[in-house]
């Protein structure tokens, strides 16, 4: 029989105590913050996107004008291409690819050494972005004594300015080395939770380590793989902090500019001080819509609903 406190305790003062008196004390402060500085900004982004607002903050409504302008903006197509390239490459090589390699490799070697490697990969994630970007900028400098040039000089290559010569390489490395840790942690947790019996059974059947990885482990972490791919696609699509710090969209005009950074530049860093909040917000709205759709998809696909079990007691 289910334990039901209501039937158990008949005392009136007790049930009253359980009642919702303090509910609002607990809940309202957080809700207030979230509504004013999270939900309202979502709506405001949509609305500002329908105006040609500038620094005067006037609401000059122009309907869908900004969206029509996106279609005629010759840079928008280049930037869209950049964005897709950046998201796909970083995701494939690092956020999923490298993450998968690190987690499989470190769970197949000595556990202590494995966890040291994983710790090192966590370091870029918790380093303040400005410091982390600084480290790469120094390493990629054009002088002969910079890290990259010093390393390539071992092979007899001439020093080059890596940021100017291979801006995309730098952008992807900088983002990739941060992005790897998320997938790494989730994959490692998933790999460690595979029951030992499965691995042992495969070994008894004569499977090699590679076969175990391919036919036992990978199929079992299918869901985490899909989750990390989906989650990191969204986060790469909307993040521009490291690109801003490393190349700021350059060198030259929009060479490494991505969609989210373009929106930022239009609103906050236009050359000549022309502030285009309206157009920037329209570009951001597209990301907001993608973000909302994907967040809802996670919720549906990844069974987040299971997290929402009712409280254990009925009050």
């Amino acid at each position: 029989m289910r334990f039901s406190p209501k039937k158990f305790f008949v005392s009136n003062s007790f049930t009253r105590k359980l009642h919702k008196g303090y509910l609002y004390v607990f809940l309202l402060p957080s809700l207030g913050f979230i509504v004013v500085f999270f939900l309202i900004p979502v709506i405001l982004t949509f609305l500002i996107g329908l105006t040609k607002m500038d620094y005067s903050f006037r609401w000059d409504w122009i309907g869908l004008g900004n969206y029509i302008y996106i279609l005629r903006d010759k840079w928008a197509y280049k930037i869209l291409g950049n964005t897709l390239f950046y998201v796909f490459t970083t995701l494939a090589f690092f956020n999923v690819g490298m993450a998968l390699f690190i987690s499989i490799a470190t769970t197949h070697i000595n556990d202590k050494i494995g966890s040291i490697f994983r710790s090192i990969w966590l370091l870029p994630r918790i380093t303040p972005s400005t410091v982390y970007a600084l480290l790469w900028l120094w390493a990629a400098r054009g002088e002969a004594n910079s890290l990259f040039n010093w390393l390539t000089s071992i092979f007899g290559l001439h020093p080059i300015d890596w940021k100017l010569t291979y801006p995309w390489l730098l952008v992807i490395l900088v983002n990739g080395f941060v992005g790897t840790s998320f997938g790494m942690i989730i994959f490692t947790a998933a790999l460690k939770s595979i029951p030992e019996d499965y691995i042992r059974a495969a070994k008894v059947d004569g499977a090699s380590t590679l076969q175990i990885i391919r036919y036992v482990e990978l199929p079992l972490i299918k869901w985490p793989l899909l989750f990390v791919t989906a989650y990191q696609t969204l986060s790469l699509l909307t993040s521009y902090e490291y690109i801003l710090l490393v190349t700021d969209g350059g060198p030259g005009l929009y060479t490494t500019e991505v969609w989210a950074l373009y929106s930022y530049h239009l609103a906050f860093a236009q050359y000549g001080g022309i502030v285009k909040f309206g157009y920037g917000a329209a570009l951001a709205t597209i990301l907001v819509i993608i973000g909302l759709i994907m967040s809802v998809i996670y919720w549906k696909v990844f069974r987040f609903r299971e997290l929402m079990v009712e409280p254990k007691i009925e009050v």
Partner: protein, 285 residues
């Protein structure tokens, strides 16, 4: 002794070391830069502690000028610390209150609020920058640390609430029940009986909030105009890319290392919390 597995293992070690090497080198370089006259690759030409002398006054001078181009290091440090501490504490208080309500109370709208926080917690807050700028400007909070605090708290809260709800869910209801039977009020039971049991969760949210505030860059860059309110992130950014960024990489490295101190402490002594933060609410797949 079987040779083949040994060989296979060492190949794995070598590849792991090679892909991890860039990270090791980058951080080694930062440290060496701050204590050497000049660097050739990773080899220092002569050691010096001169760069650390900025700690004495906190002023960084541009050679050949008398103008103070940068704010004082100690002002920047205290701004950053205040920002991070306020963010951390506000997040702990608010998310433990809301997490408790969502874990223990049953009320109309509960599942809607849960869905909302869950969706928002996956949602990239950075895309709202223009609208947040508008809101802060309208409230007169542009160019103030309070503005940055409020925005950070709002955007971090959904994650914090989820971490705390998870911890509250793990506490047996009986503990609370016995406190209530013994005459505690609901608020009293929450504070005296439940909170001490979720210490790990509180630590996780506290560290998350602190690091999140300590490292914040984009919101400071966008919402702060005056050097008086600069935090470390702006300081390092200016030293890296600003007009006088060439002054001395040794000094920049020293400032960056000072900036890294709390991060390194958490990295060495609180990694279990950091891991928890990284996967909180997302670990359920």
């Amino acid at each position: 002794m079987r040779i083949v597995p040994l060989l296979k293992n060492s190949i794995v070690y070598i590849i792991l070391l090679l892909v991890t090497l860039p990270i090791i080198l980058l951080y080694t370089l930062l440290f060496l830069q701050s204590i050497s006259v000049n660097l050739n690759g990773v080899i220092p030409n002569g050691f010096t502690l001169d760069h650390w002398s900025i700690l004495s006054t906190g002023n960084i001078r541009v050679p050949g000028t008398t103008t103070q181009y940068y704010p004082n290091l100690y002002l920047v440090a205290s701004n950053t610390f205040i920002l991070a501490v306020i963010i951390a504490f506000t997040e702990v208080v608010l998310s433990s209150l809301a997490g408790y309500a969502l874990s223990r109370y049953k009320f109309a709208g509960r599942s809607q609020i849960l869905t909302l926080t869950l969706i928002l917690h996956a949602f990239p807050g950075i895309t709202l920058l223009i609208a947040l700028f508008y809101v802060l400007n309208a409230l007169g909070l542009y160019n103030s640390l309070i503005g940055v605090v409020i925005v950070k708290v709002a955007l971090d809260l959904p994650l914090g609430i989820w971490i705390m709800k998870g911890f509250f869910d793990g506490i047996p209801w009986d503990i609370e029940m016995s406190a209530l039977v013994d005459g505690c009020s609901r608020l009293g039971a929450w504070w005296r009986v439940i909170m001490p049991n979720v210490r790990n969760g509180l630590m996780a949210v506290l560290i998350f909030g602190f690091l999140s505030g300590w490292s914040e860059f984009i919101y400071v860059l966008t919402f702060i105009a005056s050097q008086d309110y600069w935090t470390f992130s702006m300081f390092v950014y200016a030293l890296t890319t600003g007009e006088y960024s060439y002054i001395n990489p040794g000094i920049t490295a020293t400032v960056a290392i000072i900036y890294m101190i709390p991060v390194i402490i958490f990295f060495l002594f609180a990694q279990k919390y950091l891991l928890r933060i990284q996967i909180a609410g997302k670990s359920t797949v």
